[in-house]
Point group: C2
């Protein structure tokens, strides 16, 4: 997993937590209004603080992102160390073969057995609108970091 | 944490994963349409498969549940063992002093330092509409367990 130098100390701490936990739970709103989450392995936090994942472009979560229903939550949890992060963001599917080659690592084949040859393989980019993290046990409502005001 | 005998093998396996990870990330839809999550310690999985948590009744997540915006997701993640669960459910706030005394344990005071004396203390009940879990690394879209069809 690649982590670029971040623009602020808060983003750097968040990126360090993401690197530590690596697999986030991505929550989306389903067509029936329910909220669904699934594990996704983070492959990069870029210099703009955006998070990158591989996805399958025909999968429901990508269809949602492509259809314009972009609001997502990414949660990272390590219940043993009691580290937690919540990222509220906007997701979009990116079909860029060069970028995929750049971000692909061999261990990803357990999620995507057909690898870069898979015609449905795509990237999911999540831009952070706001985030919170909990470094250790605290009252659940303490915001340790709010990274950026939500853009209306 | 209390775990009652469950009605099916799938619910029993899900309850065992919840017990193992114990702290879930509860995702709700915020008034601005963004999705936000926060850690919550599970105190019981009852015989109906409902999950119980302590909450503060003035907190934003409870206000949402009381205002009728009930759709939530609970995710449980153990990135080291690669165990993950997603629960799509309906949340409501329950103010029941007797039930709170029954479910309270001393270690909860790190989240709720005023304990049972806190006038804002309440319970959050989550009924499961559907759920999935991943016991080990697999393709992210494999549903291992779908517990109940969504009630429309």
């Amino acid at each position: 997993m690649k982590v670029a130098k971040q623009k602020s100390e808060e983003l750097a701490r968040l990126a360090a937590l993401v690197r530590q936990m690596k697999i986030g739970m991505l929550t989306t709103i389903e067509p029936d209004g329910s909220l669904r989450s699934r594990p996704l392995e983070t492959v990069e936090v870029d210099r703009e603080g955006r998070l990158w994942f591989f996805t399958q472009a025909h999968s429901p979560k990508s269809a949602r992102a492509e259809a314009g229903d972009h609001q997502v939550n990414l949660s990272y949890a390590d219940p043993r160390d009691e580290d937690f992060a919540s990222i509220s963001g906007t997701a979009r599917v990116v079909r860029d073969a060069e970028r995929m080659r750049e971000l692909w690592t061999a261990n990803l084949d357990r999620w995507f057995p057909r690898g870069l040859e898979d015609p449905d393989l795509a990237l999911l980019e999540v831009r952070i609108d706001k985030a919170e993290y909990w470094d250790e046990p605290r009252n659940e409502n303490v915001k340790i970091g709010t990274l950026a005001p939500r853009q209306a």
